[in-house]
Symmetry: C2
Subunit: 251 residues, 2 copies
């Protein structure tokens, strides 16, 4: 499994992904699921991937044309003129990659090779954009009605995102919110694991304004994880008490 | 879908279930998923069900021998001498019910008619017991290492249970905790819906010490739902701030 979240804020985009892949609980590895390309000052494009690792790595490799000699490669993501075109291209490659593998493996393979992708980025002269691309190759775009996308193991970390998100929050608060959401997921599901990758894309900057890997020993993440337990307990205690006597009435 | 939780506390057992069933989003109904039988002073046994409604209703009907005339019926749950025997009997009926329906509907029906059951109760002279019964008819029993079971749409409401549970908490706090867990689930998944059924089984009491339906208009639940948003935001604000400057260090 996997957990990746892309948040759209007024100030820009904040992305976080875990790095655990597994094929059974006895076969876990660390793989980067966030890939970024930029033309400084002109565009930045980031993908986060969930699903079959061979599929998602193949999509990335095709985007970078790794089948060709380095000097012949042309990453089309660097040349397409809109984020919509980028989403179409990534969707097409994703759909084709899945279709080829499933065909090679007969109908029994159906469903085994699927993947989903969150696409985020901005091209100069246009707004920052956030897309969710499905295995079928089609996609949806975030708006401030639905300002974030999650892929992978999405449920444990969703309630805090729903309650904590605010479109005008600072990047710092957004990172804190994502860390809480990831911590809830990590505590509940072994198939999501540290380290995490974090990327902040400030509007009109066209290069990462903040990018780092949050390791297992990261002191801030460790502090968030332990403080959140205490903070949640305090929050819980602050709620009005239930009373068996005054059934149906608030205290 | 469904959401049911059974909590094991030092003081006894607390059970909560939703009442929404659906067959597509355009076909939703309210059905009770919690059923209780008791011999006052001697035993109380409660089931909560998730899964195919025809299957779970059939299991309940078979337990109560509704195929017989009322005067000939013998609810075996009222006579078995241990909760373990009760779990075996419920498991057997569940497995048989699923197997019959799947057989009648050919191999294509496989998986469509499954259900899971949480069994809770106490028989005089023995401890309160909490079981999770699988569609295969086998089951596991809760202990204070894993003191609660969830069935149905379990993920959204799990993080707060993990953080908020305490085996020596009061019944009132346990009800509050369950309400928060249900509220998180209700906010995230349309297939779980109010009203909720609540049952508190105090140790050695052998009759419900508190039992009620929490309706859509319930003032306490409404207050919890709105206060929890505020409390979570305060909890979130109370966490140490992330800083882009002091990367990797806590503030």
């Amino acid at each position: 499994m996997t957990y990746c979240v892309g948040l759209m804020l007024d100030k820009g985009l904040v992305l976080m992904s875990d790095t655990r892949t597994n094929s059974g609980v006895d076969n876990i590895s660390v793989f980067r699921k966030m890939v970024s390309w930029s033309v400084p000052g002109e565009r930045i494009i980031t993908l986060m991937t969930a699903g079959n690792l061979a599929t998602t790595q193949s999509v990335i490799s095709r985007l970078e044309e790794r089948s060709k000699a380095p000097e012949d490669r042309q990453n089309s993501l660097m040349e397409l003129s809109t984020m919509f075109q980028v989403a179409c291209e990534v969707g097409r490659l994703l759909r084709e990659t899945i279709a080829e593998t499933q065909e090679d493996n007969g109908p029994k393979g159906s469903g085994r090779f699927t993947a989903s992708i969150i696409l985020a980025g901005q091209i100069k002269g246009m707004e920052p954009r956030l897309f969710m691309i499905y295995p079928e190759g089609n996609f949806i775009e975030a708006s401030f009605d639905t300002p974030f996308f999650q892929i992978g193991e999405t449920k444990y970390g969703r309630p805090i995102l729903i309650r904590g998100y605010d479109r005008d929050m600072s990047f710092e608060d957004a990172v804190k919110l994502l860390m809480v959401s990831f911590d809830s997921t990590l505590k509940a599901n072994l198939s999501v694991g540290l380290p995490l990758d974090l990327l902040v894309l400030e509007r009109d900057r066209f290069s990462p304004s903040h990018e780092r890997r949050i390791e297992v020993t990261d002191p801030y993440f460790t502090e968030i994880s332990s403080s959140w337990s205490d903070a949640l307990r305090s929050a819980f205690q602050s709620l009005p008490d239930y009373s068996f006597d005054q059934v149906g009435s608030s205290t």
